[in-house]
């Protein structure tokens, strides 16, 4: 992640706090996948995995989204459950983690179901499962999305991003 994008995200985190920032990051991520051509993108703020993505003729992925400023994050039982549930419908489980620091980018880790465990995990442990091609494409798309929407998000917060998601055809499940 370039320093400009990082700066914008830090600005958002500073204004809205870690909790809301996590949701903002999640919506920006959803918008990014939409920009990458994923026709089916579902973003959830409630029960279930955070984002589903699918593209015709390609694998479907269910993502648990985490943002952190530290070296680790927590994957709770609920997260693991949600991923397993989605797997039944053919969605491959992915943990998407963004650490807010220079040179970091979204790590998309496709963790095998039989290795999914709840608990505190080092972000770097996920590197064993990276989907590097998808990460590279996401990096470009995410940069553009942040550039476009960070000012609006800074002013309008989650409400602004909800509107953008709706405009882009992303299904948003808030309840």
């Amino acid at each position: 992640m370039d320093t400009v994008t990082l700066g914008r995200l830090r600005e958002l985190r500073k204004k809205y706090g870690a909790g809301v920032f996590g949701k903002i990051a999640q919506r920006l991520l959803a918008l990014s996948f939409r920009t990458m051509g994923y026709t089916h993108v579902v973003e959830r703020s409630v029960e279930g995995v955070d984002i589903d993505i699918a593209k015709d003729g390609e694998d479907k992925f269910a993502l648990e989204v985490k943002t952190t400023g530290a070296q680790s994050f927590i994957l709770d039982e609920g997260n693991v459950h949600a991923l397993r549930d989605r797997a039944i419908d053919g969605y491959l489980p992915v943990i998407a983690v963004l650490r807010l620091a220079v040179f970091e980018k979204w790590i998309l880790a496709q963790v095998p179901l039989d290795e999914l465990r709840a608990g505190r995990m080092l972000v770097d442990v996920l590197r064993a499962y990276r989907m590097t091609d998808l990460e590279a494409a996401l990096e470009r798309s995410f940069r553009e999305v942040v550039e476009e929407h960070a000012p609006g998000a800074l002013e309008g917060g989650l409400r602004y991003l909800s509107e953008q998601l709706a405009k882009d055809g992303v299904e948003v499940r808030d309840s």
Partner: protein
């Protein structure tokens, strides 16, 4: 079934990195059978030594760019 075979089967029935993990398991059991616990420890840390060296070497190079 010996402990070796049992674990080997588990690895083979997993979904990811079967080959690499099977190979690693063979190395672990070979080290164990040759020299017990300490040998397992040595074999694993020896494997990390090169990675650690390369990691630090590259990090040092990047530091110079600052």
């Amino acid at each position: 079934m010996t402990y070796k075979e049992r674990v080997r089967e588990k690895i083979a029935s997993g979904t990811a990195r079967r080959e690499e993990r099977s190979q690693l398991w063979e190395e672990i059991t070979k080290a164990y059978e040759e020299g017990s616990i300490e040998q397992v420890e040595s074999a694993l840390t020896a494997g990390m030594a090169d990675i650690t060296l390369e990691f630090r070497h590259l990090l040092e190079k990047l530091e110079h760019l600052l």
